[in-house]
């Protein structure tokens, strides 16, 4: 098992190297940051001086080498846009993103699993059909549109909820939280619903599909033949066996919510990492772009690792194959 974990970690390191290279390569192709950094009045000479200062005049390989050696030493550089160390900047935005994606994940699990079970067990009912229909919309309507519709309805027409921002936040050490103030909670509602819709629909359909599969398998038929009550069949024999792929997908969805809430954060002007990333792309803020992508890679590697470990714990079959290889 230790060997298996080590292999995974090494693979993770490989992934990070590739992502690092890609992130850096992409961010140097986004345009010229110098024009965004210097004002309209800067002369041609001043622009070139700045380019030299940033090392942008050097060949790609040299730039990448320098970047890599800095990252290895834990220096992510300083934002071209805000003049603030990137590490600090990401740490500042992390709480907003974590709370948003955490809330979205909570909504996904709390609603997705029960609704999935319901639609699997009560396959023919009208309510099931409505839920499945709605979930199709959740999968297909783009996030920015859902976000704007919610804003239009709840902020503009009904004026119940704020249209954007994070509301008042409370600092607890280095963490800022909007969960302890009324305005913070109110502000969290629309963006977290918007963000949750896709993963909610996905999870719901997955739970339903898996559960239907399991309910048609031999051991469930056997349990039925034994005359066990429905409740026991559905939950003890059915759900437990259906959950394994659900855990994987749910965990990867968490990674997605955390790393790619860019659209939701932009629509709601949510001061998290996704918004920071988008602004960085527009400004060609290379240090922020590459660090963010690297961080996203770290998150995914870690989440995958946790999923793998949970497999080892949950499923004896996986344990034996890993042990043999």
């Amino acid at each position: 098992m230790i060997a298996g974990l080590l292999t995974r970690l090494l693979q993770g390191l490989g992934v990070m190297l590739v992502v690092g290279l890609l992130a850096f390569a992409v961010s140097t192709k986004l345009g010229d940051p110098v024009n965004n950094m210097l004002g309209q009045n800067a002369t041609i000479e001043e622009r070139e001086a700045m380019r030299r200062e940033l090392g942008l005049d050097q060949p790609f390989v040299v730039q990448y080498g320098k970047y890599l050696s800095r990252v290895v030493r834990g220096q992510l550089g300083v934002s071209y846009r805000l003049g603030v160390p990137v590490g600090e900047l990401l740490a500042e935005r992390l709480p907003a993103s974590v709370e948003l994606s955490g809330m979205a994940m909570l909504l996904t699990l709390v609603l997705g699993v029960p609704l999935g079970i319901y639609t699997a067990i009560r396959r023919g009912s009208l309510l099931s059909k409505v839920i499945l229909g709605a979930s199709l919309a959740g999968l297909s309507v783009p996030t920015f549109l859902t976000g704007l519709l919610l804003i239009f309805l709840f902020a503009v027409q009904l004026q119940w909820l704020p249209s954007s921002g994070r509301g008042e936040v409370v600092s607890i050490g280095p963490w800022t939280t909007g969960l302890l103030t009324a305005s913070g909670l109110r502000s969290l509602l629309l963006p977290s619903i918007t963000l949750a819709l896709f993963s909610l629909a996905l999870l719901l359909r997955l739970v339903r599909g898996e559960l239907l599969d399991v309910l048609h398998s031999d051991h469930v038929r056997f349990a039925r033949a034994r005359g066990l009550p429905d409740r026991s069949i559905h939950f003890r024999h059915g759900l437990r066996n259906a959950l394994l792929p659900v855990v994987t997908v749910a965990a990867l969805q968490l990674g997605n919510l955390l790393a790619f809430s860019v659209v939701t954060e932009t629509v709601f002007q949510w001061p998290g990492m996704g918004l920071l990333f988008l602004q960085a792309v527009q400004f060609v803020d290379v240090p922020v772009i590459s660090s963010y992508l690297l961080l996203a890679a770290v998150a995914f590697v870690l989440i995958n690792l946790v999923v793998d470990v949970s497999y080892l714990v949950l499923d004896p079959r996986v344990r034996s194959t890993v042990g043999r290889s």
């Binding site: 986004l30 345009g31 010229d32 940051p33 110098v34 024009n35 965004n36 950094m37 210097l38 004002g39 309209q40 009045n41 800067a42 002369t43 041609i44 001043e46 622009r47 700045m50 380019r51 200062e53 940033l54 300083v78 934002s79 071209y80 846009r81 805000l82 003049g83 603030v84 160390p85 600090e88 500042e92 704007l148 804003i151 239009f152 902020a155 503009v156 004026q159 704020p162 249209s163 954007s164 921002g165 994070r166 008042e168 936040v169 409370v170 600092s171 800022t176 103030t181 932009t266 629509v267 709601f268 002007q269 001061p271 918004l275 920071l276 988008l278 602004q279 527009q282 400004f283 060609v284």
Partner: protein
Amino acid sequence: MDRLPGVVLLGAMLAVGPLKAQTFRYASTGDLLTLDPHSADEALSNSFKNNIHEGLVRFDEKLEPEPALAVSWKNVDPVTWRFLLRKGVTFHDGTPFTADDVVFSFQRQRSKNSVMASHVATIKSVKKIDDYTIEYVTVGPDPILLRNLTEHFIVSKKWCEQHATTEPVAGLKEETYATRHENGTGPFQVVERLPDTRTVLVPYPKWWDLPNKKYAITRAEFRPIANAATRLAALISGELDLAYPVAPQDVARVEGQKGFRVIKKPELRVVYLGFDQWRDESLDMPGSKKNPFKDVRVRRALYQAIDVEAIHAKVMRGMAAPTGLTIPEGTEGYDAKLRQRYPYDPAASRKLLAEAGYPDGFPVTLDCPNDRYINDEAICQSLVPMFARVGIKATLNAQTKSKHFDKILRKSNNNTSLFLLGFSPETADAMATFVPTMTMKGEGAGAWNAGRYTNPKVEELVEQIRVEMNQEKRRALMSEVLRIHKEDVGHAPLHEQLIIWGVRDGVEVTPDARDRVQLRFVKMRK
């Protein structure tokens, strides 16, 4: 301050509760980058500077220079300017303002890392005469010194030394204390700054101009809201008092909403097309050994193929002012007599092309930004069929501004044949457009001259204008530059775009022609 504990914030909110009617809440597309007035030269950051910091001179509502931290000035000789400083002025931390701060601020703004050095580039030296008198010596006679001084911001010497921020940072290398803290002399001081989230200001109770103050607000909250639809929603749901800019297509939505209105005003910016006038062979015609745009007849043909009224009506929905000049109205040196455009005339255009040896037209790539000016991509899209009508086969290359400017400016060797640009003379003086966009020689020339337009006569006139102190003569020289440039069809102007702000009724605010919200002119009805 970076961040207040929530409890204090809540307390502060309760404390200002009764005055809520005078809290002015506004939003724009992005956030200011830094509070350091010498560390960023970018539209939104610049628009904020005058709320917090001041220069010896400031612009009034009509963008004419008036005394601020100086009470008066006179020329000892053509290059020596003596300024009498205002007494009794204090910085926001209470430190008195003296000549030492001016000397220090000049050095700071001119230092290597400053991005605002261009505004003091003509000043050779500064000398303290006594605590309330200083002398600037300029390189040559400088007719626009006063305008430039409006962007020469005074910071406290003592405060900067105390916080180890005697030099600005040009958006790189490190963060300094001045990135998130300020100590200006201006009408407002920052009480909360959460980058990309919120910046809160309150009036400075010891501001020197308080007796004549024109603002009526007790607090201002600025928020960046990047998404135009969200910004509009925040305005009409009552969360904002002012949102800017409003897209032309959203104007009807705001005007149709009870309790809201739209303020429109021509911006100090002209959107125009430029041509590659220096390559011997056009980028789009490899192997031809020809560059059509070197011929003035071709430039004129392209100009006259533009149906500017159609762009005005359809693309801009009437919210632009078509012009034949690259200098916007309201600029020193603007000449209304030259505003008339060459008429839209496809027949004449085709004839000119035939005369120039291109009866069947030629191919060209039209480089265009898609997120910089109002409806920029749509303007370019509408130009393509207009050019096709006279035989010019234009291919549109619309991309984000970082890539657009990367391509057309000097870094990529002006890698363009035909491009769209919108330029604003920020000092409201024509020279701010002439030098970077219409010359290739001399100090500061050519940075935005992506087509490398040059004319020996214009170069010579610009050198004369630089040092001409007589306003009448100077204006005449500027008119001459505009006349020659128009005759050369150095660029093909389209229009001045409009400043479009959405405001709540009860808010009185006058847009600055540079699209800046000056808090000292904002009034709210109680």
